[in-house]
Symmetry: C2
Subunit: 544 residues, 2 copies
């Protein structure tokens, strides 16, 4: 199946990395070919470099033999294709062995890391150091790569939630094998590489995010000093009509700077999927869970049609001032609004048992559900949200989750919409109608990532073990995606299932191709990643 070029490249890679770091084992290859939706891509090999120099040499070999490689840090990009390349016959360049935390500056609040460093690893490191710094975490697995998420422009929940905006000083291996450092790091004697984002001259970091222009092998991530006081606010709406006014009030609070971090609002389906698996007993084994069934579950479990949370960071008096503003702004727009701090959370845990004895109300369960969410607002990684990947699985959620291995079905569609009641209503209605009609539950979260824009994250969650479900889910995804873009909403991030959305004005596509050809003349780095399909490069075509 592999031609002479591949054999030559594999020989060279083996010489370079040693035989153990060039993986051809069918089970390992199958694992990296697998994601949470159907794919046909085959992966001929996995390369496991342990240093930047080895990454350079791997790319030089790829260029020499015209065989493409596809980098992956942790490969846990679930719902967007995990670590599966968008095109067949790319060797995986697995960066997970490069997992050093190279620098940590407590005073100027940053760390410098390699691509294999995970959220949990950084969190543990900061804890061990007794650091006063908080990281930001994304609501995925604690074992995802920090750099991987940042380069996908993922987001989190603290004031540092816009991950890409809090990064600087990249070290990038170009497809040719050359290395560049961005910002001031390109000057050998500079002392400000980790401190200032723009550098001097054209700002290039953006070129390497959501692209296939280089392999990032090092990055500085800015952290936030732990605030003197932290408080979460939690709210719910019991009526659909509250959503529009709520969103507009929250966006005004964001624009005014009263709320300095993302606010997350999820619908009832979204909340239920994070609380439990599919309620087969209520639906008598049928899918989807219908709105009236959802209504009665929601009433019983006491959450709202929309449920939200955000964090307040500052001194006690600053937080108090913000709390007052939020109370005032949300009055009448939410059914319930609560504020929670460390002390109250600890008290709840302490009194959970006596309260249960006295009232029968199992507070500990509420607290257990709340804690991961509360922690995320403080940048503590959690795998709690990942449980929703197992929503439709008939078996219980395993202790070690792996949605790829466990044939969980998951597809994310993530359009950005304006901070406007009308747009929120439109996206809600098109999502609910399309998903329910196709037999899936409309799980929607709205994250106010700025005062102007909302990231609307829509999940299609299904069971890949049910025959035909893969195809039904993909068809539903395509139908929804085309309706959403027809409304003028475009994704903040694409999975390998949706790279065709990169197609925009012809001149823009042409500029992207011009830039790509300039930095990757052999076309060997991650072909098809954040680019519009075109005729494959001759070398790659010959290899496939």
């Amino acid at each position: 199946m592999l031609d002479a070029k591949w054999h030559s490249a594999l020989t060279e890679w083996r010489k370079l990395l040693g035989p153990d770091a060039v993986v051809l084992d069918p089970a390992a290859l199958f694992a990296v070919e697998t994601t949470t939706f159907p794919t046909a891509q085959t992966v001929p090999a996995i390369l496991r470099p342990s240093s930047r120099e080895e990454v350079q040499e791997c790319l030089r070999i790829a260029t020499r033999f015209h065989v493409p490689v596809y980098p992956r840090s942790s490969g846990k990009n679930w719902g967007y294709g995990s670590g599966v390349p968008p095109q067949s016959n790319c060797a995986i360049l697995d960066l997970s062995r490069m997992n050093r935390i190279l620098d940590c500056n407590e005073k100027l609040a940053y760390v410098t890391v390699e691509p294999g460093v995970t959220q949990q690893q950084l969190y543990d490191f900061l804890t061990r150091q007794k650091s006063n710094l908080w990281m930001d975490a994304t609501g995925s697995s604690p074992h995802t790569s920090l750099i991987g998420n940042i380069m996908e422009r993922g987001f989190g929940h603290t004031p540092h939630g816009d991950h890409f905006a809090q990064s600087c000083g990249l070290e990038v291996v170009l497809p040719t094998g050359d290395v560049v450092e961005t910002g001031y790091s390109r000057f050998p004697n500079s002392v400000t590489g980790p401190l200032y984002r723009w550098g001097v001259g054209p700002f290039l970091d953006g070129l390497f995010s959501q692209s296939n222009f280089g392999v990032v092998t090092r990055m500085t991530i800015w952290l936030m000093p732990a605030p003197a006081h932290f408080e979460a606010f939690l709210f719910r709406c019991d009526h659909q009509a509250q959503l529009g006014p709520l969103i507009e009030a929250l966006c005004r609070l964001r624009l005014a700077g009263t709320i300095q971090s993302a606010v997350h609002v999820g619908n009832d389906y979204k909340v239920l999927s994070s609380l439990q698996q599919y309620p087969w007993e209520i639906t008598q084994g049928k899918t989807p869970l219908l709105p009236d069934q959802m209504d009665s579950i929601r009433t019983r479990l006491q959450f709202g049609v929309w449920n939200g949370s955000g964090g307040l960071y500052g001194t006690k008096s600053q937080v108090r001032a913000a709390r007052r503003e939020i109370r005032r702004a949300l009055a009448g727009k939410v059914t319930q609004l609560r504020f929670l701090d460390d002390r109250m959370l600890a008290l709840s845990l302490k009194f959970a048992k006596p309260i249960k004895l006295l009232s029968g109300w199992d507070l500990s369960k509420t607290v257990a559900l709340l804690q991961p969410l509360y922690g995320l607002l403080k940048g503590i990684p959690t795998d709690r949200p990942l449980q929703s990947a197992y929503w439709r699985k008939p078996s219980p959620i395993p202790a070690q989750m792996d949605p790829d291995r466990d044939r969980c079905g998951l597809l994310w569609l993530a359009p950005i919409i304006p901070s406007d009641a009308g747009d929120v209503a439109k996206i809600k209605s098109v999502t609910s109608e399309t998903l329910l009609a196709a037999g899936f539950e409309p799980m929607i979260s709205l994250t106010m990532i700025t005062g102007r824009a909302i990231a609307c994250i829509i999940a299609i969650s299904f069971d890949r073990d049910i025959p035909g479900e893969d195809q039904r889910a993909m068809a539903c995804y395509r139908a929804l995606a085309s309706q959403v873009t027809a409304l003028g909403y475009y994704s903040y991030r694409l999975g390998i299932q949706s790279m065709e959305e990169m197609d925009g004005s012809a001149s823009y596509v042409s500029l992207l191709r011009t830039l790509k050809s300039a930095v990757d003349p052999a076309g060997i780095l991650a072909p098809g990643r954040y680019e519009v399909e075109q005729n494959p490069k001759s070398g790659v075509a010959a290899a496939s």
Copy 2:
């Protein structure tokens, strides 16, 4: 002097724009060849397109005849070369006729503008609209271009002070004449172009800042809703030893988010140059103004060795909470700390006369000096800081300032340094020693643009009418620049006098050249701008 290619290009440009919009008048050409330091560049023509389509066609003609063009918006980049091209024989592409405010959205807080729109024009527009939005202003002339400043990554004083970070949705004419729109604007039906910065796929806006990769003909600028309450804080240090601890305290306040905008700290020379022209009478006509002379002036005029200001934005209680924190953090680190709001400023104006009658203290003068600074913190443009360009001129400052025309000498050096007492001490000492030794006053301002980095803006202010002064100033600039980079500090922005600082690691320079050749194969756009000198392109060489 101009060869056949130039004549052909001029003929085509005249056909396109009409004869009035192709300026060859020697006086007009002399004006655009002139800046605040010596240059030898000659400009063969000024093109004045009135639309994006005309810009496209101008560049197509330039490409066809291999003659370079150099865009300028308002040309008021004083201290960095005004609008003078870094290389000879570039036609100026004057964008000032494209001065429409194309969109203003009050709810989502943005405007969309063309490159000719000035700070004052936007300010007047917002005032006329009775808008609730505040812009950010840079401390230069009110008649500078907004887009010009943003693309130079200039900064201002409100929470939107990082200008480039508050922009999105660029329309860019590429050197080939093609047009691209960045972010979601590239999708014809998108509704989020002005609302979200990163778009999908590689983020390209950075490529067009501090570069010669394209001509920006439209941009969205995010504005801030006027806060419920605004207060300025003003402080001074009477002892050099206070500076280090002060800077570190301010940076902690920035990192903690208590202060959400830039804090500006200027030394005594800097303050004096904004209050008055050179005190020839005190020095008996000699230069420079020596430190002990400075000491006695400072004591008499009652300002500090270091003098600072910043703004607090929010509700009354939020501002009160911040004020309390600032008082606590700066205690002992400043000689004086004052807070000022609109009410207090109005009262001061009202009672200035009676106070003067009673106490002899001319409060109105203090207020007059304070008002422009106070206004800048609210985003109100002022030409007050520009007066310092006339520092060494023997004649009074004219009502209509034009430092180029008036042969003011001004050179800026603008390194970024870490937010660290040691680095501040180093830059202060190397600047003071080098400038005083060369016969110039060390005017230094430190702007804490983030919690991690300080923009250190150093002015060399001189009189171009004094023989030899041009050369002395340039020599002093070069001596200082090389010492500053030897310390590991690099500029946040370069003037045409310092493009050699773009030289860094060879691989980075090579990447920049690769990208430039890809987007501008004919090398016709702004050669030498933010790039390392190289052998001129054949076409350009033939033309020069």
